[in-house]
Amino acid sequence: MVALLEAKALSAWHGPIRGLYELDLTVEQGGVTALLGANGAGKTTTLRALCNMVRRAGTTTFQGVDISRRSTEDIVRMGVAHVPEGRGTFVALTVEENLRLALHTRRDKAAAMRDRDLVFGYFPILQERLHQQAGTLSGGEQQMLAIGRALMLAPKLMLLDEPSFGLAPLIVREIFRILRQINEHEHVSMLIVEQNAALALDLADTVYLLETGKVVTSGPSALIQNDEALRKSYLGY
């Protein structure tokens, strides 16, 4: 397999406080990598550092191109779609406008319209709610909209920040099922941050375990799933 995204010695700060210590991380082409760990371990910070949303150091390459100094917007335009913590819904825009926003950065309008149908295929509920204000959607629907918005960017890599946050277990399972389909059918690689370790381990092929801004261990998810000591002390099940 080929590395799609590679971070070397990635560090990050929140103002004066350091949140990440020289992290090495790889996402394979077509693969799903999960970042697991407790609150404050630096998972969200890692995603933000990869997109240059916080002060950071170290090198990041995406498809072999150095993106360490690119702006967030440029990184997104290169094909990295970030589904942020809290879903980033544009509450006063309609669902349709939330999705159409992607057309601002895309030249291939026809392909974009096909992508829209694709989104509706995965999330039919969005088509039903098309002209509703996005702020009136339920949490689960907003999460679907956030993933839909990301899909509209025709990404090669999706960064997902706790897609299960605040959602009912049934909906979480549904969303993870769809994420797997997106990964398999659209060949979108994923880097996913999760509190729900069991679900993430099912979806991911590679796992990084974080504690206070450092990698504790990493490896194929099957290995971690079978290591009971590790599971008990870090993942709590």
């Binding site: 997109c51 949303m53 702006s71 967030t72 917007e73 997104v76 335009r77 779609a81 970030h82 942020p84 980033g88 819904t89 544009f90 509450v91 006063a92 825009l93 406008e97 159409r100 926003l101 992607a102 057309l103 601002h104 950065t105 918005r149 960017l153």
Partner: protein, 290 residues
């Protein structure tokens, strides 16, 4: 009755101009939370440019269009070059900065074109619309230009992806960035549009009040009042507010307090709205961030 209709007509005419000023203010407020005290002087300066072009023999409507374009790039420039470094500055620094811009524009206009008042041509004839002395073509023209501009802006914000991106950037900058929207440029674009709208207001009002460097002082205050009445975060509200304030001003001026206290009336409206209904008639409630 005739007098009353005349007052309404002239109220709607001033209202159209206040609406333009208010719309410019709202445009900047929505995307940056700033109140641009230099909005009036920027409009005045643009109007002088139009005056200079017309005096040099440029046909009115070409000068009109060119001025809007120049104002647009001027606004863009101000945001990118002057305001960008003060992005994270405290409110006081920004207010000082806007006041500085106001002084500079006023002084430069006075320096180049002097403080003597000048005639500014109107593209509309001043004669009556129906020959009964109630509504003039000029008044209708001012309201018409404003409505056309509003229509164009509505189409832009509602149906183009660029307009959509600007709205998204104003609403949730962080999330807009993650959709690949260059938020910093959207702010600059907002400034450019605000400057253009202001220029239109200036060119519409100049034939009525005559052109001089202090021409926009009172009008800006009415623009503030209109924006506040409509709810300062709401473009459509600003326009409605403009018409409401324009008509009220004329009626109160002719029937209650006389023309000499019109600015005090604006002061009462501003303070009154801020105190009694800070969200305006059509705005959402202003949430205080902690």
């Amino acid at each position: 009755m005739d007098f009353f209709i005349q007052q309404i007509a002239s109220g709607l005419t001033s209202g159209a101009i206040y609406a333009c000023v208010a719309l410019g203010l709202v445009m900047i407020y929505v995307s940056t939370d700033h109140i641009n005290f230099a909005q009036g002087e920027m409009a005045m300066f643009a109007t002088y440019l139009a005056w200079a072009m017309i005096n040099a023999g440029v046909p009115y409507w070409i000068a009109f269009g060119l001025t809007i374009a120049v104002a647009f790039f001027g606004g863009l420039f101000i945001q990118r070059v002057i305001l960008k470094p003060l992005e994270h500055a405290p409110v006081l620094a920004l207010v000082v900065c806007f006041i500085a811009l106001l002084s500079i524009f006023n002084a430069i206009a006075g320096m180049i074109w002097s403080y003597t008042i000048k005639q500014f041509p109107s593209p509309f004839p001043s004669h009556d619309l129906f020959g009964n002395g109630l509504v003039s073509v000029q008044q209708l023209g001012v309201v018409g230009v404003t409505l056309v501009m509003l229509g164009l802006l509505t189409v832009f914000f509602r149906f183009t992806t660029l307009g959509l991106a600007m709205r998204a950037a104003a609403q949730n900058p962080a999330s807009a960035r993650l959709m690949g929207v260059r938020v910093a440029w959207m702010l600059a674009l907002g400034w450019g549009l605000a400057a253009s709208i202001g220029a239109i207001a200036g060119m519409l009002v100049a034939p009525i009040v005559f052109l001089d460097p202090n021409m926009m002082n009172g009008i800006l205050v009415y623009g503030f009042a209109s924006a506040l009445v409509g709810g300062i975060g709401n473009p459509m509200g600003a326009v409605a507010g403009g018409f409401i304030v324009g008509v009220l001003e004329n009626l109160v001026g002719s029937y209650v307090i006389g023309n000499e206290l019109k600015l005090s009336f604006a002061l009462v409206v501003v303070v009154g709205v801020l105190l009694l209904k800070p969200a305006g008639l059509f705005g959402r409630v202003i949430v205080r961030r902690v």
